[in-house]
């Protein structure tokens, strides 16, 4: 379970406040979706979870244990990251996934690390791409490799920062399926930011609507009402329910 308690953060030594008391609880193995306009604080929240930025006050707990005092290495064993723009340099798929084991091996990969990499490659059906340069992969394949690298470290939580932002429709579908698989088959808790509300409804178990550095609304898909969306995004949309599936139009 991920718990964030009254988290505050500001850039320039706290002067430019971005997070103004974030409170959030996400059950273990569930997919939580962060929604909000640009500048609402989603990326900054991710940075504090990953340890890139240190919060001014508040706490982040995974399975009831604070992660703020952990070293980079120990934190990396619990949390993985899949960025929006996936760039690996000119490494092969195998070499890239192996970097996901760095928190465990430090200087040089051991037998166990190579076995874990092979296992993940097999589970994600990446065998054919294994020795291919990541520079020659499609956007969807790159995202798949990024997910493989994220799970090879056996994290408790994976943070996805707008993962579908640069993907076409078919790769978007592929990513949604892969993400659901992580939650269901591996039991990994996932916190993901998305812009597309329909994608969010399809993917998420819990939803957190952010505005001005706080979580203004949190809950299940009952939150997707015209009033809430207008309050957060300042746009008028239509929310329709077709055979128990929510569809948001006019975004």
């Amino acid at each position: 379970m991920l718990e964030i308690k009254d988290l505050h953060f500001g850039y320039d030594k706290g002067k430019n406040k971005v997070l103004n008391g974030i409170n959030l609880t996400l059950e273990e193995g569930k997919i939580g979706i962060l929604l909000g306009r640009n500048g609402a604080g989603k990326t900054t929240l991710f940075k504090t979870i990953l340890g890139i930025e240190k919060p001014g006050s508040g706490d982040i707990l995974i399975q009831s244990k604070s992660i703020l005092g952990l070293s980079y290495k120990e934190r990396a064993k619990q949390i993985s990251y899949v960025p929006q723009l996936v760039n690996f340099g000119d490494l092969t798929v195998y070499e890239t996934i192996l970097t996901g084991r760095i928190p465990y091996f430090g200087f040089s990969a051991g037998k166990e690390d190579h076995e874990e990499v092979k296992k993940v490659i097999s589970e994600m059906s990446l065998e054919e791409l294994s020795e291919k340069s990541t520079e020659k992969l499609s956007g969807g394949e790159r995202q798949k490799v990024a997910i493989a690298r994220a799970i090879v470290g056996k994290p408790k939580l994976i943070v996805f920062d707008e993962p579908t932002g640069n993907l076409d429709l078919s790769n978007e579908r592929l990513l949604i399926e892969e993400t659901k698989k992580l939650s269901k088959e591996y039991g990994i808790t996932i916190l993901c930011s998305l812009h597309n509300l329909n994608e969010a409804v399809e993917l998420g178990d819990s939803f957190f609507f952010m505005d001005e550095g706080v979580v203004k609304y949190s809950g299940g898909n009952e939150l997707f009402t015209e009033e809430v969306i207008e309050d957060i995004f300042k746009v008028n949309v239509k929310v329709v329910n077709i055979e128990n599936k929510i569809l948001i139009t006019g975004e």
């Binding site: 990953l50 120990e74 760039n87 690996f88 970097t99 760095i102």
Partner: protein, 315 residues
């Protein structure tokens, strides 16, 4: 000298002059080419990875400019008088203290490194800030050198200009030993960090999420790379383009995995500098041309080709 004369002289046989040329000049020169080429190329690779900039090279952080300024201070202000270019036997070992200029050049290089890394430590320590600080501080050293040279005497000015030519002829067994020790220390550290450098190719945020303290690793890596550059440029002067060409050749041939590209870059640098030095002595018509000029001459067309091919790639 024929090849057989060279081999004989290497083992102390043959005429005294041949033995002296071989043992006191050629061998230290060859060792210097191998070690300096490896170190400069390696430093270039580490700079490119850590600064996330494929155009980064040993000169990016202005270390060479600082060394040239230091050498000019020694020659023009303190009259270090380091006129030994290695081309002339009679001037070999000239000067009261042949290391005076190198020592001052080294001190200024280190000062410059600490200034840049210190400034960036206070700020965000991002690659962009580092490169811009390096360019700015490098320009200050160059401007200060120009002003000093403006007030120099003819002899001081010519000595200072000659020093700034990269020249392997200045190498001695002592300077080779110092460079070798620094090179091996750097090589061991960089090899140990090779997987972390691989992770850094994905960007700072991803590298941090993989358990790497990016700021500290970047600081230490650049400090070690800069240390070799400072030692090399202080002893041999400015040798351009090795640090930018060779890492690219190695990456092109063997890929970007640092476990391979680190030793491959070092090897490529050694081979290129050795070839450039042989060429400089062959086309120099009896006297060796400054090897720094040869590496730049060879490097400039490659660099332009690299830029054009990159443009094509992203077009």
């Amino acid at each position: 000298m024929s090849i057989s004369d060279c081999i004989s002289a290497l083992f102390g046989n043959g005429s005294q002059a041949n033995v002296r040329i071989m043992q006191n000049i050629r061998v230290p020169r060859i060792i210097a080419a191998i070690v300096a080429g490896a170190g400069l190329s390696l430093s270039g690779l580490i700079m490119q990875t850590n600064l996330n900039n494929y155009m980064a090279s040993p000169s990016t952080l202005g270390i060479t400019n600082a060394a040239v300024f230091g050498a000019n201070v020694s020659i023009i202000v303190f009259a270090g008088g380091f006129l030994n270019t290695g081309n002339n036997l009679s001037s070999y070992m000239a000067g009261t203290n042949p290391y005076a200029t190198s020592a001052v050049a080294f001190v200024f290089s280190i000062l410059s490194i600490l200034l840049i890394l210190g400034l960036c430590r206070i700020r965000s320590f991002s690659p962009g800030v580092l490169v811009l600080s390096g360019i700015a501080i490098g320009s200050v050293w160059t401007a200060a050198t120009t002003i000093m040279q403006f007030y120099a005497t003819d002899v001081g000015l010519s000595a200072a200009v000659i020093w700034s030519f990269g020249d392997l002829g200045r190498a001695t067994y002592e300077t080779d030993l110092i460079m070798t020790v620094v090179l091996f220390a750097a090589l061991i550290f960089f090899m140990l960090m090779s997987q972390k450098y691989n992770a850094m190719l994905s960007g700072d945020e991803t590298a941090t999420s993989l358990g790497i303290n990016v700021k500290t690793l970047r600081f230490v890596s650049l400090l070690i790379a800069s240390l070799f550059i400072a030692v090399s440029v202080s002893f041999l002067g400015t040798i351009g383009f090795v640090g930018i060409i060779c890492p690219h050749i190695a990456k092109k041939l063997f890929g970007q995995n640092h476990k391979v590209s680190i030793p491959a870059s070092a090897l490529t640098g050694s081979i290129l500098l050795l070839c450039a030095d042989s060429l400089s002595r062959t086309i120099g018509n009896g006297s060796a041309l400054p090897v720094g000029a040869i590496t730049s001459l060879l490097g400039a067309p490659f660099f332009v080709a690299l830029i054009l091919s990159r443009r094509g790639k992203h077009a």
